[in-house]
């Protein structure tokens, strides 16, 4: 009885794991596709024998010539990989690469119906071509500068503002915090045109300033995340420091911030990835300034211009994912924690 129950549970468990793996594999197909395509030549992309891996027909040097290998059916019903010495429509002469002394074998039939022997043949040079064509170092530098400065601004300002909302009583605090939260869901379009007009009047359109300067005045998402974390730090720590004569700014930087490092890391990561991903603001404010483009815009342009060069576009796409994916693997614990705080505790 007991053994039966346990084995039924084992079967259930195997089914669950198997179905999760199938769904996950389907979910990640485009990622695997992009990666595989990025290593292919133009011929390999269209070849039906190279559907998944970048493979090319294998050749072998025999009698001073490069000969293609095919799987040839033998009279005894097996197949053998043989080198095609002479190909005509009606019959082909094959040599056995394993036994050079053997007499050449003539096979009746169209050689095109035979399956060629394929070997792995990745074209990693796609990456260097894409790297140069898309000016990857410039895009990378631009994206880093934008994401880094923006994140510094967000952390400095939001850690400051969040302290105000977490520790002090002042008239209008409740309504003001509701306003903070509602700016989170305010569509950006409704403020964009006047903001753009002002930035244009002061000569900031076509520079990074509109993308970076507002970050130094905090944003709702990070205020909320950090405030939630500050609230979990006991008020007694502030009080003790205040009795020792520290003012609130000193308390924030000496007592609170050192304890809020995990939350700051989470907020910083969110913002960094947000900038890395951001497409709309750069195309609005940097339109036409291709030397200033971040990677998202550069990649979008590249894929539009070279839509026929599938392998190069996919190579550039893979390159654009490397930094966020690698950072994510090392920081995911902080990261998921932050998602949960902003998502569940609202």
């Amino acid at each position: 009885m007991k053994a039966g129950k346990r084995s039924r549970r084992g079967v259930k468990r195997a089914l669950v794991i198997l179905s999760v793996i199938v769904v996950l594999a389907a979910f990640l197909v485009p990622l695997i596709y992009g990666f595989a395509m990025s290593f292919k030549s133009v011929e390999q992309i269209t070849s039906s024998y190279s559907a998944v891996l970048p493979r090319s027909p294998a050749t072998i040097k025999l009698q001073g010539k490069d000969l293609e290998l095919y799987y040839v059916p033998m009279p005894d019903g097996t197949t053998k990989a043989l080198a095609a010495v002479e190909k005509t429509r009606a019959s082909t002469t094959f040599a056995d690469p394993a036994d050079a002394m053997a007499a050449p074998l003539e096979w009746k039939g169209n050689w095109r119906t035979l399956k060629p022997v394929m070997k792995l043949d990745p074209h990693e040079e796609n990456y260097s071509s894409a790297w140069n064509m898309i000016s990857f170092p410039i895009l990378l530098k631009n994206t880093f500068v934008y994401a880094f400065l923006n994140t510094i601004g967000i952390l400095l300002s939001s850690s400051f503002v969040a302290y105000g909302f977490s520790r002090f009583k002042f008239p209008g605090k409740g309504p003001l915090f509701i306003i903070v939260m509602s700016t989170m869901i305010l569509p950006s379009a409704v403020t964009l045109i006047p903001t753009y007009t002002v930035f244009q009047a002061i000569g900031w359109v076509g520079t990074w300033l509109p993308l970076i300067v507002p970050a130094f005045f905090s944003n709702a998402y990070n205020i909320f995340l950090l405030r939630q974390f500050y609230m979990s730090i006991p008020q007694e720590m502030d009080d003790a420091a205040r009795i020792d004569g520290a003012n609130p700014i000193q308390i924030l930087y000496r007592i609170i911030i050192p304890q809020a490092v995990p939350a700051l890391v989470a907020a910083g990561l969110f913002n960094f990835f947000y900038c890395w991903n951001d497409y709309f603001s750069p195309i609005v404010y940097l339109a036409g300034k291709s030397k200033l483009y971040p990677i998202s815009v550069g990649l979008g342009m590249f894929s539009g211009m070279f839509s026929t060069r599938v392998a190069l576009v996919q190579a550039a796409t893979v390159m654009s994912c490397v930094v966020p994916v690698v950072i994510f693997f090392f920081t995911q614990r902080f990261f998921m924690q932050g998602v949960v705080v902003t998502g569940v505790e609202k």
Binding site: R13, V16, V23, G34, L186, A189, T197, F273, G300
Partner: protein, 311 residues
């Protein structure tokens, strides 16, 4: 005592306002004033190429958007048609992943969680390119896999034209959106982990089936999380832009289906620089978002379940 309390209150007030000053400044300068200004702009024919020639046109822009410009109304319609399709697909998928990752039967949960989250880290532009490639009818893998699994002739000329067929394009966009579903499923997962296990134990004793537990315990307990994600999701999709813009460059292809309101807003405001008219479209996005948010908040008492004394 009274004076000291007064001093403390004044002290708190002063420091409180000092700390929130950066946000207050950005709220006034980057939110409040621009919002009012864009309402003002919507009554003018402002064009940044000829800013001095801008003149007051009254309700003309609004009348144009409401009654004359078919593309404007169509873009609202397309957006409203897309939102429920995309939200339904993403929520069902996110919920299914969360339920499975929360299951006691699954081993290696944290590895699966990481791998399901992974595509969320991929920049949206890159996801669009990878999906578009793998959905290509000639060289993509998805049609080939479907052909192999179902045995139907779905490759080459007979391939499913995911990105070119007006009937399928919203499904295709929704698939691409699934690659951004990470935050939603992590939040659902946290919500599931917050459901008290006693509830399931009691249901087990009463002999309730898995589905019954799902609909009577799990889903009701998740409604607060669902509520939050619904608002974020609707407001986010009202501004759906990057994927259709990268794939179709704002042309509306196929058959005007990708002419979402944010795409149209961008085209009017930053391609044609009709910023007066663009402001009308921006306010329409805002008002639709406000309407949905109001409906959700207004009905939340009826369907959102808050356990204990929360609210």
């Amino acid at each position: 005592m009274g004076k000291r309390a007064m001093d403390l209150r004044r002290w708190e007030r002063r420091w409180g306002y000092l700390f929130i000053a950066p946000w207050l400044f950005s709220f006034v300068v980057l939110y409040l004033m621009p919002m009012i200004a864009s309402l003002g702009f919507s009554f003018t024919d402002f064009n940044p190429a000829t800013p001095d020639k801008a003149s007051f046109v009254g309700m003309a822009n609004w009348a144009r958007a409401m009654f004359q410009d078919h593309e404007a109304l169509a873009s609202v319609g397309k957006t409203l048609a897309f939102i429920p399709i995309c939200l339904a697909i993403s929520f069902i998928f996110a919920l299914a992943i969360a339920v499975v990752l929360n299951s006691r039967l699954l081993l290696g949960k944290s590895l699966f969680r990481t791998l399901f989250y992974l595509p969320t880290m991929i920049p949206v532009v890159a996801s669009a390119i990878m999906w578009l490639g793998s959905l290509n009818a000639q060289t993509g893998w998805i049609d080939q896999i479907l052909a192999a699994v179902t045995g139907l002739p779905l490759t080459g000329q007979k391939g499913i034209r995911w990105a070119d067929s007006p009937g399928l394009i919203y499904f295709t966009y929704s698939l691409i959106t699934l690659w951004g579903v990470g935050n939603t499923f992590v939040i659902f997962l946290a919500g599931l982990q917050g459901v008290p296990t006693e509830l399931y134990e009691a249901a087990e004793v009463d002999g309730a089936s898995w589905w019954r537990q799902m609909f009577r315990i799990t889903l009701p307990m998740l409604t607060p999380v669902l509520f939050f994600n619904l608002i974020i999701g609707i407001v986010g999709l009202l501004q759906y832009f990057t994927v259709p813009f990268v794939i179709n460059n704002g042309t509306g292809y196929p058959g005007g289906m990708s002419n979402f309101i944010m795409v149209y807003f961008y085209r009017q405001s930053f391609s044609y620089f009709n910023m007066g008219y663009g402001s009308v479209l921006a306010w329409m996005i805002f008002l639709i978002g406000l309407l949905f948010t109001a409906i959700l908040f207004g009905t939340q008492k009826r369907w959102v379940y808050y356990a204990g004394d929360k609210r």
